[in-house]
């Protein structure tokens, strides 16, 4: 069979306007948006009767890809779906989707699960990642057959095919909106399973009554769900209380990760917190424990730290915020890591009311647009690292309304 995409929308699906508009989950709206940047639900699913990707042959992967692509584009997830054959996509497009959190780092790289010592290399990479985003190595060739379906224009739903599992359904929303995200994800799950409205066909998932949805890695088995939120916790970092949050999270069997999820370091004090347990608790129990008991505490803790800084360490807080704003307004060269760190400080100024002429959304979008692939797409040209540092500083000055 041909590997040519049968997609109704040709690549690249991201128009320059869409890239500039930024991603929906960064709109800075929704509940608790001063602390909670985004909410994400991921469901892991595999097709019944087929090997998991750890042992699938290239032909089997190709078959999974074709079956799933056909299904994802026809089952009515959204009025408009974009399909990308990730293995055929230009490196810049893959990176662009990573920066928009539509696909994972592993999906960008395209190594089959379990190939080599993936986890070791991952930790080595993140320690090298002095320049977040620029350190993601792109496979020279396209890698194993894999793809992603993305709902347009909102990009709320993305379904990765042939990541660690055959299907990884993801819903990403702005602010704290886990219940809504779970509702959407579960609906998409039902649509993929079928029966298809047009053909009446169903897709059989690998499932056992004892173990639930069967996944390649048994740490995901059962519900196959990962519930996560991205939190901005700059005040806790300043007051030295982040380690307490990390320890508390670990005691509650939660994972704390960086801006790009698994295997990434925190940049700009953005942290992803997610559940680890997937077996023995239902989706709604997992979600409610997370949303009612854990996250409100972390939010309250960060807000208390912000109030403490405003009341008792105001000069220190002001210095951090306005120093960052000063550098961003006048720098002529900016690395991505420096940009996100400074923008994080400015965001702290915005949410504490110290900075009044900017909104959280402006800052969120700048964080996205200053990342390597977005920067190149916004400016419409490929640039090397040094050129990007110049262009990044210019873009930030322009967006912050500096005319010099």
């Amino acid at each position: 069979m041909s590997a040519e995409p049968s997609s109704p929308i040709p690549e690249p699906g991201f128009s320059a306007a869409a890239v500039k508009r930024g991603a929906g989950w960064l709109r800075g709206v929704g509940a608790e948006a001063d602390v909670v940047v985004s909410s994400r639900i991921r469901l892991a699913r595999n097709l019944s009767g087929l090997a998991f990707l750890s042992r699938a042959t290239r032909e089997q992967r190709q078959r999974v890809l074709e079956v799933c692509r056909e299904r994802l584009l026809s089952c009515g997830i959204s009025s408009q779906m974009m399909w990308v054959d990730v293995h055929d996509a230009p490196p810049l497009d893959r990176l662009l989707m990573l920066e928009r959190h539509l696909i994972s780092k592993d999906h960008v790289k395209g190594r089959p699960p379990g190939a080599g010592t993936v986890k070791d290399e991952k930790s080595a990479e993140s320690s090298e990642a002095s320049e977040a985003g620029e350190s993601v190595p792109l496979a020279a060739g396209g890698g194993e057959p894999r793809g992603v379906a993305i709902s347009l224009p909102d990009e709320r739903v993305s379904v990765m095919v042939n990541e660690e599992d055959h299907l990884r359904i993801q819903v990403l929303l702005s602010g704290l909106a886990l219940e809504e995200a779970l509702g959407v994800a579960s609906g998409v799950d039902d649509l993929i399973e079928g029966p298809c409205a047009r053909t009446g066909q169903t897709l059989a998932y690998a499932f056992s009554p004892r173990f639930g949805y069967l996944t390649c890695c048994p740490t995901n088995v059962g519900t196959g769900i990962r519930v996560s939120v991205m939190l901005h916790l700059p005040a806790l970092k300043m007051t030295g209380e982040m380690d307490k949050v990390r320890r508390a999270a670990r005691d509650m069997s939660l994972a704390v990760r960086g801006y790009y999820g698994e295997g990434s370091e925190a940049s700009g004090e953005f942290y992803q917190i997610s559940n680890q347990t997937t077996l023995g608790k239902s989706e709604s129990v997992i979600l409610h424990e997370f949303q009612r008991e854990i996250i409100p505490q972390v939010i309250a803790y960060e807000r208390a730290a912000r109030r403490f800084l405003l009341d008792k360490r105001r000069r220190l807080l002001e210095d951090k915020v306005f120093r960052a704003l000063g550098v961003l307004r006048h720098a002529r060269l900016l690395s991505p890591e420096e940009a996100i760190t400074l923008l994080s400080d400015v965001r702290l100024g915005v949410v504490t009311g110290l900075v009044r002429d900017l909104g959280a959304e402006d800052v969120n979008q700048l964080i996205l647009l200053t990342q390597p692939a977005h920067l190149q797409r916004v400016l419409g040209k490929e640039m090397d690292q040094n050129q990007r540092r110049e262009a990044r500083a210019d873009l930030v000055r322009e967006r912050l309304g500096v005319q010099d």
Binding site: G49, L50, S54, E193, V285
Partner: protein, 225 residues
């Protein structure tokens, strides 16, 4: 976090509880060595996982069957994966592997999932009503060995009751009826401790409780297995 003794980043953390008081130490690797604390070299996650799986499953399976699984040749009939290969990278090969390695996986899953050993929650529409405490593998084995014996019937009844209790437990927790949930949990523990073959593991033992009070840890080892 800075080392208590010098300005290096603290990577070894020790909590000692002595006479009801908690003492914390945060040291860098050199100072920890100087203090005589055991310092693990940075073991990669995969080797930690492998080590852990080896210890856990061999102990459990040896206890259950008297046979060390690593000594048993052959693997999954469907995809050919052996348990030794699973121990290498922590990934299974196909849906069938869950049945083939059911016994070895049981204790591991309980550790990874806060004591969870059985699925609770959504099931595919095609499987509606199929959720029960008895796995298809168990049923198949019973079918192969002829008609169920009296003890197997009792086991089936118990499994059905366990499934029902689990459902009630989930509902009680969702409704925040914690006293009720605790009672159901105790009943579940009692029922499951009666189960043969060691396939069930008590869900009331959180992983943290059986850790020693003194547990030096390195940063950066948390994360997904």
């Amino acid at each position: 976090m800075k080392c208590d003794k010098c300005s290096n980043e603290a990577t070894v953390h020790e909590v000692v509880i002595k006479g009801g008081k908690q003492h914390e130490k945060h040291l860098c690797e050199q100072c920890a060595k100087g203090d005589g604390l055991p310092v693990q070299t940075h073991a990669p996650l995969t080797s930690l996982l492998t080590q852990y799986i080896t210890q856990q499953t061999e102990a459990a399976a040896t206890a259950a069957t008297g046979v060390n699984p690593s000594a048993v040749p052959g693997g999954c009939a469907e995809c050919g994966l052996t348990f030794a290969q699973f121990r290498q990278n922590g990934l299974l090969g196909c849906p069938r592997c869950y049945e083939v390695f059911e016994q070895q996986l049981g204790p591991l899953l309980a550790r990874w999932h806060e004591g969870g050993t059985h699925h609770v929650g959504k099931s595919p529409k095609s499987m509606a009503g199929a959720a029960s405490g008895v796995s298809q593998a168990t049923r198949a084995r019973r079918a192969e060995s002829g008609s169920a014996t009296g003890s197997e019937q009792a086991a089936d009844a118990r499994a059905a009751q366990v499934a029902l209790l689990r459902k009630q437990l989930g509902e009680a927790v969702a409704a925040e009826q914690y006293e009720k949930a605790a009672k159901i949990r105790d009943e579940l523990v009692r029922l499951e401790s009666m189960s043969p073959g060691g396939a069930f593991v008590s869900p009331s033992t959180p992983a943290s409780k059986d850790k020693p009070a003194r547990s030096p840890k390195r940063k950066g080892q948390e994360g997904e297995a």
